[in-house]
């Protein structure tokens, strides 16, 4: 027996650009900031959830199992079961998918599923020798021992790498994520201008959505301890122009690369939650769902072309449900890199690719830019890796409701060579 699963509501923090040094919130702080008002605006008691699942990639030492720490800090009760999931950039969607399957299969009625990430809090990582030296120093007893240890000190012990840089490098191919986008740009013939134009558009869309108040229900202000109220995604650059972007040099492969800081997603902090519920829970608490989760899919491919993950994960969904390109009214494809999104679109329009790789007779077709990432994406609002997958599902549901769309897909590429996708329908 499979049961319908509803997306009842959701909320996220503004995505806050990392500006050198740790930002004002830890991963759990972020989850608490948007979780509090979300639980406050829904009628169910805060201890009514069967489970809390939170995606988070860079867990900090003080917050092991951030899902449980967040649940307790949100006042959901000592008896709240909670676990954290990690599938790199797909973590925030993994939490939704796990919740979706549990509810669909009948073991759970209502689950709070989220994603959080504070990339600005990524630790400094010291090399192995330096770490051993620090350990030895801590164990050294007495002045002589300490002095002896001190002589072993080498300057390069103090050149830590930012952990984030390591995290964004594929451990199998040793390619940086930006380099995987360079690979796709090369393979699919995406030029710099097209990528930059896509990026400019992303900023314009987000700025328009912010100005129209279309995000007001989804993005709730976060308040830090210094008294600053963070109201909106602060990485948006509405007056970004092609000229300005053209001035930027390649960020990953100097001097000839096409992927720049301007046409890549931003490094940000942020969190997002959605409430998923069965029909029983919807009735019991008098809830008013915004969408229904229909199906989900995960796919894997060579890590060096991880950016094609959305194509490989979405295709089984459309095939399983017999949906043509025009049957999907809205798409959210996470904007890791402009070149990467554009490569996905190109692949779907390529007869040979669709026939040989996806098993279609001809090309899947062209996804109209008017249906894709309608209110901007990770290029303009940032990519807190553990939160992004959650955000695109939430925003798809909200955008479908606003536009009266019937069907939508949220999908993302995942570092390490994976892709995830979810199919939603209007209620």
């Amino acid at each position: 027996m499979t049961r319908p699963v509803y997306l009842v509501d959701g909320a996220r923090t503004p995505f806050l650009k990392a500006r050198g040094g740790p930002g004002p919130f830890t991963p759990v702080d972020l989850a608490v900031q948007c979780g509090r008002p979300l639980l406050m605006r829904q009628p169910m008691p805060r201890d009514a959830f069967d489970l809390v699942i939170l995606g988070c990639v860079n867990v900090i030492q003080d917050e092991m199992n951030p899902a449980r720490v967040a649940a307790l800090r949100l006042g959901m009760g000592d008896e709240q079961v909670a676990f954290t999931v990690q599938i790199n950039c797909g973590s925030g969607m993994q939490s939704i998918d796990t919740a979706f399957r549990y509810i669909r299969d009948g073991s759970h009625e209502m689950i709070l599923a989220g994603g959080t990430e504070a990339l600005s809090h990524a630790p400094l990582v010291y090399n192995r020798e330096a770490t051993e030296w620090f350990g030895g120093m801590a164990q050294a007893k007495g002045a002589m021992d300490k002095a002896a240890k001190l002589t072993e000190l080498r300057p390069d012990f103090f050149s830590p790498v930012i952990g984030l840089e390591r995290g964004l490098t594929d451990p199998i191919t040793s390619l940086n994520m930006g380099q995987t986008a360079e690979v796709l740009a090369h393979r699919f013939g995406i030029d710099r201008e097209t990528a930059d134009a896509y990026a400019v558009d992303s900023h314009k869309r987000l700025a328009a959505a912010q100005a129209d108040g279309r995000l007001d229900h989804e993005v709730l202000p976060a308040f830090d301890r210094d008294g600053v109220a963070h109201k909106t995604d602060d990485g948006v650059r509405p007056d970004n122009s092609m000229d300005q972007l053209a001035k930027l040099g390649p960020a990953f492969e100097k001097p000839y690369g096409k992927v720049t800081a301007g046409n890549s997603s931003q490094i940000t902090d942020g969190a997002s939650w959605v409430i998923l519920a069965s029909e029983t829970a919807v009735k019991a608490h008098g809830l008013d769902p915004i969408a229904r989760l229909v199906d989900s899919e995960w796919a894997a491919l060579d890590p060096s072309i991880m950016g094609l993950g959305p194509v490989l994960a979405s295709t089984p969904l459309t095939q399983r449900h017999g949906l043509a390109v025009d049957d999907i009214d809205l798409w959210e494809i996470n904007e890791a890199f402009a070149a990467q999104v554009l490569s996905c679109l190109t692949a779907w329009q390529d007869d040979d690719f669709c026939r040989d790789v996806l098993g279609y007779d001809t090309a899947f077709g062209r996804i109209d830019r008017g249906r894709l990432n309608v209110d901007g994406g990770a290029i303009s609002l940032g990519h807190p890796v553990g939160a992004s997958g959650n955000r695109i599902v939430l925003h798809l549901a909200n955008a479908m409701k606003t536009k009266g769309a019937r069907r939508g897909i949220a999908t993302e590429c995942i570092g390490g060579g994976l892709g995830g996708a979810m199919l939603l329908e209007a209620v």
Binding site: V32, R36, P37, M40, R41, R73, L74, G75, D78, P221, F223, D224, R225, D226, G227, V228, A229, K231
Partner: protein, 687 residues
């Protein structure tokens, strides 16, 4: 179903140990390590009463005969070891009777100290005053985590009287000991261990092991160190005492607060000889107990208890929604969250909400909350720009600007949104509830809840009734105030309610004097000399000149009696934005480095003091006549806890009773300065 944590046994069951025949306050179990549990009858808190000491005296004889290896003394009460001496028991003792009682008490503790086997006090929670003196008479003190030790006697105008001055100065660094006793501040667990008051600090689960270690002689004392040795000479003590006197004089002048000086003398003269010091302690304590200051401060202690008792019962309030994130709303929200309430704080703008979070961080910092406690309090306090909390709160506190239209609009928008049983309370200080109630969703569940600024420092909350308010609503609000560790006083809907009605003339008369050409320092220093915590000019700046103007206006319009006129320049200052300390400039110019005086005048003009103080007494009498407060004690309590009114004088009503000539002096002032001083007709039946 039972929560698993609740279900697990606590493994501490003092009630299984019986009380010996004829003993009501102690439980005793014989054994190799004998156990003596202090468990005062018919109360949740132990105090060291005459009966407790008398019973202990008898028990010690028996225990001595039982010849255990060690004796453990601990408390059967969950809240703490003992809160102090039994103030009710000694407040009325005078002269020889006091000396006699003290000597008996000393004899019991000396007997305990002289036992031929090891004695161990296990202390947890509040271990204060007489409780600490009992523990100090033991060989060892084992503290349970969370313990708080101290000698708060100075707050009652006294110093320790059961040997505490002797034993503490001998046990630890005498300067640190004196510091504790002079300030009345307590030392929490690690601090107490570091000072050497505790020989060990352990969690409850390791108490038994620590007792065994102590009994086996494996628990070392910390000695007071070098300084303790040095202070055995009189010359060294004289030097330190001089420093202490000048410090004490700054904080609490000898003239008003004699106890710190008595304590310093005691130590300086006898710190080198325990026997002499003990005798002197008894004499000094008995003398202090006779002083008006101690009697009035003890009175304040009882007044606090009276207000607390007005907030008995359950409030049924878990979630508080505060509307308006100005200074007041933010303080109410931060304080309530710190006290465990779930709080939503609403404002139309984000900026004040952000500032409110920062303010909360500052308050938690000042109150020394641990990182985890501060985080949890901040988590409980949710800035709420969309007013989501309105529908979930059990209590909505409106702290919006003092404009009828604004409040009306807010109240109208709450109808049908608030929970059926929720209360709406206004924090207004200058509007009448009678004018607000019309738009409140439910008159029965509407009332005033008037906090004082800053909430985190001023303990008073006025619970204001009006004709349509349900008794249950007022009870719940009083219980709420008590539950968040504030002191509720029940008052009626009267211009300025109780406290501002009384405070108004103090501030207004100061403005008149400024207009007459008196200097602000002259006025403030006179008030300080009377014992006020700050002069009226400084206070007006603190409260905000705009608020003062508003309160003055509401008093002038609402009261059926002549009031002082407010000088025009005051309104002009407010118009220019010079609203007081909050704007950086008021009657004092803070931005340009001007600071209000903090030293009292040596020779203050009686005329200034009388013009400031006597109208407050008069206003109190008027409030009593009009039934604004229940009785004179409520008036005194409210004015002391709401404004810091010279506590050693016992409150304006008490002061008037003692002085006896207030109405006559008012008449004289009326003849000289105008009808605003004409005594209220309530004086006829006062006193």
């Amino acid at each position: 179903m039972t929560d698993v944590l609740e279900y697990l046994p606590k493994r501490l069951a003092p009630e299984e140990t019986p009380k010996p025949q004829g003993v009501t306050n102690w439980r005793y179990a014989q054994g190799d390590i004998a156990q003596l549990w202090l468990d005062c009858a018919d109360t949740g808190t132990n105090v060291i009463s005459e009966a407790v000491l008398r019973e202990l005296d008898t028990l010690l004889d028996q225990i001595k005969g039982d010849r255990p290896r060690a004796l453990v003394i601990r408390s059967a009460k969950a809240g703490g070891f003992a809160a102090g001496a039994d103030i009710d028991g000694f407040a009325d003792l005078r002269g020889d009777k006091a000396v006699q009682m003290l000597e008996q008490g000393h004899a019991v503790l000396d007997k305990l100290a002289a036992l031929p086997f090891t004695t161990i006090a296990v202390v947890h929670g509040n271990t204060l005053g007489g409780g600490l003196e009992l523990a100090l008479a033991c060989d060892h003190r084992i503290g349970v985590e969370g313990v708080k030790v101290g000698f708060p006697e100075v707050q009652l105008g006294l110093h320790p009287g059961l040997g505490g001055t002797v034993r503490l100065t001998q046990l630890i660094d005498p300067v640190a000991a004196m510091q504790m006793m002079l300030t009345g501040s307590s030392a929490h667990d690690r601090k107490a261990r570091k000072l050497g008051i505790l020989d060990a600090l352990v969690p409850e689960r390791h108490v038994e092991a620590a007792i065994c270690a102590a009994a086996a002689g494996k628990l070392d004392h910390y000695s007071g160190g070098l300084r303790a040795t040095a202070m055995r000479t009189r010359a060294a003590r004289a030097l330190a005492a001089t420093r202490m006197r000048s410090e004490a004089e700054k904080k609490a002048p000898n003239q008003h607060y004699p106890a710190p000086f008595a304590l310093i003398n005691l130590w300086e003269d006898h710190g080198g000889d325990a026997t002499e010091m003990q005798k002197a302690e008894i004499a000094s304590f008995a003398e202090l107990l006779d002083s008006a200051t101690a009697q009035n401060l003890i009175r304040v202690f009882f007044l606090r208890r009276k207000l607390k008792s007005e907030g008995k019962g359950k409030d049924g309030i878990d979630h508080v929604h505060v509307i308006g994130a100005g200074a007041m709303g933010a303080e109410i929200a931060a304080w309530s969250a710190m006290q465990g309430k779930r709080v939503t704080l609403e404002d139309v703008a984000l900026e004040p909400l952000g500032k409110a979070v920062k303010r909360a961080v500052g308050i938690y910092d000042k109150k020394h909350l641990s990182g985890i406690d501060a985080r949890d309090a901040l988590d409980r306090m949710m800035p709420d720009p969309n007013g989501l909390g309105r529908a979930r709160a059990d209590l909505v506190i409106e702290a919006a600007p003092e404009k009828l239209e604004i409040k009306d609009k807010i109240y109208a928008s709450l109808a049908g949104v608030m929970k059926p049983n929720a209360i709406l309370a206004s924090n207004t200080s200058s509007l009448k509830l009678a004018d607000l109630v019309a738009t409140a969703p439910d008159a029965g569940r509407f009332a005033g809840l008037h906090f004082f600024n800053p909430v985190s420092q001023m303990p008073l909350v006025e619970v204001v009734s009006h004709d349509g308010a349900e008794a249950r609503t007022l009870d719940r609000l009083a219980a709420f105030a008590e539950g968040i560790d504030r002191l509720p006083v029940r008052v009626t809907d009267y211009p300025g309610f109780l406290v501002n009605r009384i405070l108004g003339p103090y501030l207004m008369e100061a403005m008149v004097m400024l207009e007459e050409g008196k200097s602000k320092e002259e006025i403030d220093c006179a008030a300080l000399a009377f014992g006020m915590p700050m002069g009226p000019v400084t206070l007006a700046d603190q409260v905000g000149l705009d608020i003062c103007l508003e309160v003055a206006r509401s008093l002038r319009n609402g009261l059926d009696r002549p009031m002082a006129d407010t000088p025009d320049w005051l309104a002009e200052m407010v118009d220019k934005g010079h609203t007081g300390r909050k704007s950086g400039r008021g009657l004092y110019d803070y931005d340009n480095g001007e600071t209000p005086p903090d030293l009292p005048a040596d020779d203050p003009a009686d005329s200034i003091i009388e013009r400031l103080i006597l109208p407050m007494c008069d206003a109190g009498v008027e409030c009593l006549r009009k039934g604004v407060a229940q009785d004179a004690d409520s008036v005194d309590a409210a004015v002391i806890f709401g404004t810091g009114w010279a506590p050693f004088r016992g409150g304006p009503m008490h002061y008037a009773k003692v002085r006896r000539d207030v109405p006559r002096r008012l008449e004289a002032l009326a003849a000289e300065h105008g009808v605003r001083f004409a005594p209220d007709k309530g004086w006829a039946s006062f006193g």
